[in-house]
């Protein structure tokens, strides 16, 4: 404690030995400062520019990469949107084609059904006509047979009943009508 107090109780005259007391050599300090400045100048002239340039280039490259990435991302988004749009359009067209095909199939089925119904009706009509004709033919044949039987029966009966006397009366009557 006394040593410290003794030391700090120095006069102004002892101030010049302050650097010395601190261990600082002002000539060395000046030289070091000059060296530092020379170094700084050299660095500034030969090291910092390329370094800064390299850093700038790297910075630009990173920026360019980032821009490219963003651009790629944007283009990917656009492609995705376009793809989605094309897909929607394709789905829409497919739906339309399916709907059209379904409609045409329904129409075809309807037409085919109508044709089949018409054909069936025609066949029924033809069959009815055929049956009617056959019935009429059978009726006609039956009538003819009935007439034949009646004529035969009548002839048979008349042959037995008409004697010469009745025949003479018939002939006289017919001759009167013929006159």
């Amino acid at each position: 404690m006394d040593t410290i107090l003794t030391q700090f109780a120095a006069t102004a005259g002892e101030q010049q030995d302050l650097f010395g007391s601190l261990g600082i050599d002002w000539r060395l300090l000046a030289l070091q400062t000059l060296a530092f400045l020379i170094l700084l100048a050299i660095l500034k002239k030969f090291v910092y520019p390329p370094l800064v340039s390299m850093l700038d280039q790297r910075d630009e490259a990173v920026k360019a990469s980032a821009d490219a990435a963003m651009e790629a991302e944007r283009q990917a988004a656009e492609a995705e949107a376009r793809t989605a749009e094309l897909l929607d359009e394709a789905k829409r067209e497919a739906s339309e084609i399916v709907a059209t095909a379904r409609e045409e199939a329904n129409k075809l089925a309807e037409t085919t059904q109508k044709k089949a119904e018409t054909r069936a009706e025609n066949m029924l009509e033809n069959a009815r006509d055929e049956i009617s004709k056959e019935i009429e033919g059978a009726k006609s044949a039956l009538r003819s047979e009935a007439l034949e039987l009646v004529a035969l029966a009548t002839g048979s009966v008349l042959g037995e009943k008409v004697d010469a006397k009745k025949d003479k009366a018939l002939i006289e009557k017919a001759l009167k009508e013929a006159k």
């Binding site: 002839g155 042959g159 010469a164």
Partner: protein, 125 residues
């Protein structure tokens, strides 16, 4: 070889001779038909002769009945052809049942019961 005489010429010749009263022409015609093998033409020739006689006023009438007719009926047949000299050929056909059929060269008058029955058969109801 002499050519065949047509049926029409034969009929005219026969009719003329019959009108003159010469009945031998019938035998001659029969012989001719046999000689020329024209027997199938006999019926047709008879009809042709009757046609020719009809032109001359001599009418041959065929009367077909189911029973034999008497004089009353014959007179009534004569009255059907007042302008002609009628010669009746009587044919009895029981299948006629009743009534009569009078056949002349120009027409047929059918009033038989058999024809009426045939008409009944032919009816289309």
């Amino acid at each position: 070889m002499a050519s065949r005489l047509s049926r029409r010429k034969l009929a005219i010749h026969a009719a003329n001779r019959l009108l003159e009263g010469d009945e031998s022409v019938i035998d001659e015609l029969a012989a001719l038909l046999i000689a020329e093998r024209r027997e199938r033409e006999a019926d047709t020739l008879v009809r042709d002769i009757e046609d020719q006689l009809g032109f001359s006023g001599e009418l041959v009438v065929t009367v077909e009945t189911a029973h034999k007719i008497d004089e009353t009926i014959r007179q009534q047949v004569f009255q059907l052809f007042p302008d002609k000299t009628v010669h009746i050929r009587e044919v009895i056909k029981p299948e006629l049942i009743g009534g009569f059929r009078v056949t002349t060269p120009e027409r047929v008058l059918d009033a038989t019961l058999a024809s009426k029955l045939s008409a009944l058969r032919a009816m289309k109801v």
